[in-house]
């Protein structure tokens, strides 16, 4: 009789992802323990945080003045609003206070809801790679005693573009964004400002089957609006 099911080689990658998922779910910690206060997480960017918020400029010349406010601006009634377009739209239409962080990665200008983020830190010096992982999965790094998986956002958002290549040794990333939940981080080249677009300044995508992480487009400044959690294909 065989009651044990041995995973095939093809299943091992899926199993590793599931293991990560299940380990987090069944951890005895309190739900938010993995998500550090942004004030702590952003300490490495202190020099970038001294300037006041500059409004809705489209430039990336100035650092993320409002990123320090990430934690305090997390809406308590909606811990993950970027996950659901409708939810986000409702939230936005109710409060007109949808805050988006602008960033650059792989030559693209993007925005993402601030409420999805724990904060930002410098690109870690040591990343433990894992065998047989997809090219976007860079490995794990230690942060505040926790192991955090890091994804190459440049590869993820440029997936399907055949001419996109990037050597991390020649073009290293400068920053990683820590996602809420404390288990994932994504790379980026530059973080910009926090903007508060008005209703008619966002074009929402109604059909997101093909590119589920692309929520829509911000008109001014022009940028793709992305859902970080959907971006990571697990």
């Amino acid at each position: 009789m065989v009651s044990e099911v041995k995973p095939t080689k093809e299943q091992s990658r899926e199993d590793e992802a599931l293991d990560l998922y299940l380990t987090a779910l069944l951890a005895g910690n309190s739900p938010d323990s993995a998500c550090q206060e942004p004030e702590q997480i952003l300490s490495l960017h202190t020099n970038n945080l001294e300037q006041p918020e500059t409004g809705r400029s489209s430039t990336f010349d100035k650092p993320a003045a409002d990123v320090r406010k990430t934690g305090s601006s997390l809406p308590a009634e909606n811990p993950d609003p970027e996950m659901d377009q409708q939810q986000t739209r409702q939230s936005e239409s109710r409060s007109s206070e949808l805050k988006l962080l602008t960033l650059k990665v792989g030559g693209l200008t993007l925005t993402t809801p601030l409420s999805a983020l724990c904060g930002a830190i410098s690109y870690p010096g040591t990343i433990s790679t894992l065998p047989e992982q997809p090219d976007w999965f860079l490995g794990l790094f230690q942060h505040n005693g926790a192991k955090i998986a890091i994804a190459d956002m440049g590869k993820l958002v440029n997936h399907g573009r055949q001419n996109y290549t990037r050597s991390l040794s020649l073009q290293p990333y400068s920053t990683v964004l820590l996602l809420k939940g404390g288990k994932w981080a994504v790379t980026c080249d530059e973080i910009g400002e926090v903007i508060r677009p008005l209703n008619d300044e966002i074009r929402w995508r109604e059909q997101r089957e093909k590119i589920p992480w692309l929520l829509g487009t911000v008109i001014s400044p022009p940028a793709a609006l992305i859902d970080m959690r959907s971006l990571i294909p697990i």
């Binding site: 009789m1 065989v2 009651s3 044990e4 099911v5 995973p7 299943q11 199993d15 599931l18 293991d19 998922y21 299940l22 380990t23 987090a24 779910l25 069944l26 951890a27 005895g28 910690n29 309190s30 739900p31 938010d32 323990s33 993995a34 308590a76 009634e77 811990p79 993950d80 996950m83 659901d84 939810q87 996602l179 809420k180 939940g181 404390g182 288990k183 994932w184 959690r229």
Partner: protein, 265 residues
């Protein structure tokens, strides 16, 4: 209090029927029984004539409370059914959003364990109905249970779904102090069809020890009971399926408690 989870990572194999019928049988034997609907589709909830789209208090509130860091009060989510000794925590459609809201949060797989601990002195049995998809809700049900019942429709696709379930159980077991004891329950068995016969043989060959020795036969009376919104064990007590579930319950009770039986007065 004993907690049983009824789960299989394939839809339409008889999960809700198993929960309702075993729940009805336990209640009729005098056991105070709680059914918990963790499937956002809310089949179990609908069975008892509640609308998961417009439910006021539900299992969703338990998860929401944990996310909001407020006090979890499972008592507020319990609804008494018309059947003596049988209560239910209904599902809300909003539970479908839980994975996106809470899938990355540490400890969210233990919400039910902690919530059900509040009821340890109040119920004899808790039966958890689960969605077929692996996610926060299924993980909660597997983390909380002391026994897992896996209904498997005796047809080839369902047997495949069982393999997926077994992989999930293996992975969950890594996080548990003790592996989940489980019983595979062949359902909707039709002895007239080759598919049923061959599927059952395949199950016996592969999962002999954990496979329940009997089968739940295909029985239209179960569907009729569902239409009436009453457990088949109560409104169709002489149906073939109910007899099979009685046998199943007997085997489970003896497996767990030996001769300790709490009979209805």
């Amino acid at each position: 209090m004993k907690i049983w989870t009824v789960s299989c990572q394939k839809g339409g194999v008889g999960k809700t029927t198993t929960v309702v019928t075993l729940g009805g049988l336990l209640a009729s034997r005098g056991y105070k029984t709680l059914l918990v609907d963790l499937d956002p589709h809310g089949s179990l909830t609908s069975y008892f004539r509640m609308n998961p789209d417009a439910i006021e208090k539900s299992g969703y509130d338990l998860f929401r409370a944990v996310m909001d860091k407020s006090k979890v009060n499972i008592h507020a989510s319990i609804v008494e059914t018309d059947i003596d000794g049988l209560s239910i925590v209904p599902a809300a459609t909003a539970m479908a959003t839980l994975d996106r809201q809470a899938g990355g949060l540490d400890g969210m797989g233990l919400v039910m364990v902690n919530a059900l601990a509040q009821l340890s002195e109040e119920y004899d049995y808790v039966l958890l109905d689960t969605p077929p998809m692996l996610g926060v809700l299924l993980v909660n049900a597997l983390a909380a249970c002391e026994r897992l019942l896996i209904p498997v429709q005796t047809e080839f696709l369902a047997v495949k779904g069982l393999e997926r379930m077994m992989r999930t159980v293996q992975m969950i077991n890594r996080s548990r102090a003790q592996p989940i004891p489980y019983t595979i329950v062949p359902t909707m068995y039709d002895q007239r069809t080759r598919a049923s016969i061959e599927s059952l043989n395949a199950l016996r060959n592969r999962y002999g020890r954990e496979l329940w020795k009997e089968v739940v036969p295909v029985d239209t009376k179960v569907r009729e009971a569902s239409r009436l919104g009453v457990p088949a064990s109560i409104c169709m007590p002489n149906s073939r399926a109910v007899h099979a579930y009685e046998e199943l319950l007997e085997s489970l009770l003896h497996r767990r408690t030996g001769s300790v039986q709490k009979m209805a007065m």
